[in-house]
């Protein structure tokens, strides 16, 4: 079972309200995506914590339906 880009985006939007999200399909197999996420909630957080928040938003799908998600997480320019 794979995931669609829209579904990934929807889950992250729900988990990180107000985030700006861009999803790129890396392999066309529904399993390998890149996501760049700009969200104020990342401010002051170490990168690993930022990524954990994204994985929490995906609610356990990361590493299961979704094999690879290259993450770029940043905060909005203030």
């Amino acid at each position: 079972m794979a995931m669609t880009a829209d579904h990934i985006k929807l889950l992250i939007e729900q988990g990180l309200p107000g985030a700006q999200i861009e999803i790129k399909d890396l392999a066309g197999d529904g399993d390998h995506y890149a996501a760049s996420i700009i969200w104020d909630g990342f401010r002051e957080l170490p990168r690993v914590r930022q990524h954990q928040l994204v994985y929490d938003a995906l609610d356990g799908r990361m590493g299961r339906e979704l094999h690879a998600l290259a993450l770029t997480t940043t905060t909005p320019e203030s």
Partner: protein, 110 residues
């Protein structure tokens, strides 16, 4: 601490190695591109490290994911602290942050 049977062994592995990589396969024969990327980075920085093959131990493979609250393998630990997976280690390596982290934590290269 959760009573996951694998946690005790994981904690011991982390305590016994300044730098340890939970990976698929072992450093000489990695079984996954992401794992071999991190092995190559550590070797390029000449950082001695321990490793644990999650493919050889299914309990470890799931246990480490809940232990670190991180869903994928590989996972790098430095001085007991979870640093990240392949993406983060690669990003930190490219920005020089990884080298600084080892210096800051007093991990000498070979």
């Amino acid at each position: 601490m959760n009573n996951n049977p694998a946690f005790e062994g994981i904690q011991k592995t982390i305590d016994n190695n300044d730098v340890v990589l939970f990976m698929k396969g072992n450093p000489d024969t990695p079984q996954c591109g992401f794992s071999s990327t991190v092995v190559n980075i550590l070797r390029h920085l000449q950082i001695p490290f321990g490793s644990a093959d999650v493919l050889a131990d299914p309990e470890l493979r799931d246990g480490i994911k809940s232990f670190s609250n991180w869903p994928t393998i590989p996972q790098l630990y430095v001085k007991g602290e979870f640093v990240g997976g392949c993406d983060i280690v690669t990003e930190m390596y490219q920005s020089g942050e990884l080298k600084d982290l080892f210096a800051e934590k007093g991990v000498a290269s070979a």
